[in-house]
């Protein structure tokens, strides 16, 4: 297997050529893969690297999408400004959602963030004056200026560009002192504190970061579909996000990309099962978890020596996921 240095530029070249040789539907699907990659990277930072068990990612995705769309509709902000703004708004909300994480962990945190996510969906549906309710919002095409390509191709390249940036940024973060701080908190919060690492600060950073990624992904998604609606950010979405990260490989950048690709391709493939789609999806999910505990990245790591990510293997074993704990002020875990 040739090293990453060779494979990645080749892959990039192939992807650049795709919109000119594939049919529009496939181009659309690959655009979705790019968006999901960004999402999965963000979630992996929070869940895989920082070890924060948060169920709010689909909500962040939705907040980003709605923020970008509503900024345009209510305030006339152009998409090109609305996208980063939407990401920042989502990041700010991510910080707020992360506040309970400073006191809760494990399943309690999961439940709190799950409740938040569901509440968000409820709000989307029941606040029609602001969010236009269950019917959703049509999102207009942003202008691509001097670009000679068609709309779908433009969006494809936009998504590709942002995804590449996201992979690059994540790769760097993971191998920096910030990345080490995340893993330190995940593997032993007590030891991390003894090294001067402030868990509260880095948990907040992790939440903000993953929310930012999801928010950007949401904004992109809104212009890919030209439509945002509450059911797109439901619990089912949340399951897909988690599946991407777990099946791809917790705590690995490669895993995020692979997981995103797989979880986009899977529903397409499963369409052939028609009514048994749910059963097939659930069964595949269970089989992956039972037989591939380290995810797809784990398989790659074992077979292809050159691909080992230098840092941060996936957390494995019950020791890394203790029973839910409530942190009382004078007795830190």
């Amino acid at each position: 297997m040739p090293p990453r240095r060779v494979v990645l530029p080749l892959l990039l070249a192939v992807l650049v050529v795709c919109p000119f040789v594939l049919n529009p539907y496939l181009v659309f699907v690959i655009s979705v893969v790019f968006i999901y990659t960004i999402l999965a990277l963000g979630l992996n930072l929070l869940l895989g690297f920082a070890g924060q068990f948060a169920f709010a990612n689909a909500a962040f995705f939705g907040i980003g999408a709605y923020a970008t769309a509503l900024l345009k509709i209510h305030l006339g902000v152009s998409f090109w400004l609305g996208l980063p703004l939407g990401g920042l708004i989502t990041a700010a909300i991510g910080v707020v959602v992360g506040l309970p994480a400073l006191r809760l962990s494990g399943l309690y945190l999961a439940m709190a963030t799950l409740a938040f996510a569901q509440l968000f969906q409820w709000l989307l549906i029941h606040w029609p004056s602001f969010t236009f309710g269950a019917g959703g919002i049509k999102v207009s095409h942003p202008g691509f200026g001097p670009s000679p390509f068609g709309y779908e191709t433009n969006v494809y390249f936009l998504c590709l560009g942002v995804a590449v940036l996201a992979v690059f940024a994540t790769w760097n973060i993971v191998r920096s002192r910030v990345g080490r701080a995340f893993v330190a908190i995940r593997d032993s919060e007590v030891a991390a504190q003894a090294l001067g690492i402030d868990p509260a600060r880095y948990k907040t950073v992790a939440f903000a970061l993953s929310a930012f990624y999801a928010g950007i992904a949401g904004g992109l998604h809104s212009v890919l579909l030209n439509y945002v609606a509450p059911e797109g950010y439901s619990l089912f979405q949340m399951v897909i996000h988690f599946a991407m990260v777990v099946v791809g490989g917790l705590g690995s950048v490669t895993g995020s990309v692979l997981g995103a690709a797989l979880m986009t391709a899977l529903p397409e493939v499963l369409r052939t099962f028609k009514s048994a789609q749910e059963i097939a999806f659930g069964a595949i999910l269970m089989l992956c978890i039972i037989f591939l505990p380290d995810g797809l990245y784990g398989v790659i790591r074992r077979r292809l020596a050159g691909w080992r990510e230098t840092l941060h293997r996936a957390p494995a074993g019950p020791a890394s996921a203790p029973a839910p704990a409530v942190v009382t002020p004078d007795a830190h875990p």
């Binding site: 940024a169 593997d187 705590g251």
Partner: protein, 249 residues
Amino acid sequence: MAFGGLIALKSVTMDVAAGEIRGLIGPNGAGKSTLFNVLSGLNRPQRGRVLFQGDDLLALRPHQVASRGIARTFQAAHLFRGMTVLENVMAGLHDRARGGVLSSALSLPAMRRAEDEARVRAFEALRFIEMDHVRDRLATELSYGQQRLVEIARALVREPTLLLLDEPAAGLSVARITGVDELLRRIRNEKGITIVLVEHVIRLVMGISDQVTVLNYGEKIAEGPPERIREDRAVIEAYLGKEDAGARH
């Protein structure tokens, strides 16, 4: 220091001089680990003060205490399982460096320089404890004894003023224990670091400490140079029980 109804420490006063090696011993449940937790900010006692270089550290969070120059190790080696040995030690330099998410994400030259520096210092810390040959192995691949040593390196790389060692010899072979003895001497002599160690291996503690403090049931029952402690009645009773109790077995 009380946990609900359980009083772990009842009024312990301890003064440690700079450059000293202080042993902290006592039977199980005496409150030694709790004392360490109080010192490093993990438990906050209901009353008392922790004076370090003139400042009261009691109100500080654990990571702030650490940044003041106090490093500690733990009974169960708390190495970060997801990292290699070198990365573990590099993590020890966290609060000595700067750089947030944005500069990390962009991989700015200043960040890369800082990373290289950290790598070099971590390597040197590993060399000091003679573990540099395993630096690229995952932390989980090491034996327990090796992990404990790496933990010490991770604490040392921070160039702390005070080093709190929680049972550094626990579970080690006799040969390794001698190694620990030598290592502690080198740490104090070559680096001038003050050491407080909790230990059950009496041979090690008595051999290396300048002074020994003995706890029992959350109270200090004796303090002084090792030779005196060895003969102290209260200490012997605490460990072996009174004569009659011994006879009943």
